[in-house]
Amino acid sequence: MYDYDVIVVGAGPGGAFAAKEAALQGAKVLLVDRRKEIGAPVRCGEGLGAGIEKELNFKVPKEAIDAYINAAELYGPNGKKLELRTKDSKGYVIDRKKFDKFLVEEAARAGAEVLVKTRIDDLKKEGSKFVGVIGNSMGEKFEANAKVIIAADGGESLIARKAGINSLATLYESDFGVEYEMVGLDVKDAIEIYFSNVFAPRGYAWIFPKGKDSANVGVGVDGLHGNAIIFLKKFIEAYKERFKNAKIVAIKGGIIPVTMYIDELVKQNLMVIGEAAHQVDPIHGGGMALAMEAGSIAGKVAGTYVTQNKDLSYLQNYKKEWDKKERKTFEKRLKLRQVLEKMNDEDLNAIFNALNDEDLQKVIDGRYDIVVRKLTRILISRPSLVKVISVLLK
């Protein structure tokens, strides 16, 4: 009665990892994607920290790497720079089309079946269990049954919502991003992050190098201050000298949940991973590494569940393992986000001026107490900031 052991909906990096890991356990896996071409259209800044390779025991293929990154540069509204140049700041700006396709090929090599241009519209239910998916594959009605369904359908998160899980993105707890891929500008061996309430309220603007003289130039802002494209234009205007010869060769955009990941990561025999589960870093908005990590855990758990005939409750191990690994970090990063988004540009300038590169490393490491102590003098002259910053010490 089952067509597959595991169906993974969405072939981004998270879905591809889930499909690969489940297949490696010996499960019969189907990976479907709505799009005709994996990885396109790109809707991402394309930055990826190198640490994930070791963590998940894989290598980003050379042909998918557009630029090698050694550092992260953060700019305050007044232009003061703080730089992170450590082993933690090493990474890549990748070509998502090539990278995503590589990961899907890996899943296929591990034994997963792949279907592109296959849209899943709904879940098939029997009682409280989800027994399969219904949709459309290359123009034909599509229906398939499975023991486990993994929802990896990105920021739209329709599969989880069809299952009755609250994964709706709100205007307040999401960033909406738009970026131009530009050619004809100076770039460094660093990703550049710009804070400003003028061109990136409750978010930031970025320049991620894509090549010798090209970069993804974008902004992510909340949904309450205006459409992202307005702010991207403001950012480019604010740094017009830098962009004076730059030409736009592509436009990319998307939604970035910046909140706690959803509570219901597993419901019955359905698992939710990646952006669909809001597994996105609430500070930098990066989702690829976390999605791959979640996919890897969920895929292994699902594969083991079906091949070793475990009880349904075994699937909860995905949530348990994820919580153990990531909950504390998320809570810490969310506190920092709460603080950052309450600051006006004068506050940000004062803080950027008071901190140095070593302090930035401490912030990244979550050692907030040491950094806050260093800000005592600023806080004395800015009583309104005390309450905001005190969140970090709770």
Partner: protein
């Protein structure tokens, strides 16, 4: 339904799908479809759209 998608501006990123509280928006290959029977005119999608491609219809 009071909203409409400007297909000349849309980049098919799906942000509107993620914020629609009624699951009234579907992203197909290069088409955004809004189901008028589900839409409740909340206008959230008009605010979320990074490209400012969803607008309230002019009367």
């Amino acid at each position: 339904m009071v909203v409409e998608v400007d297909r000349d501006k849309c980049i098919y990123c799906g942000a509107c799908v993620g914020v629609c509280p009624k699951m009234a928006i579907v992203l197909e290959e290069n088409v955004i479809k809004i189901d008028a029977t589900k839409c409740v005119d909340c206008l959230i999608c008009t605010k979320a759209c990074p490209m400012n491609a969803i607008k309230k219809k002019e009367k």
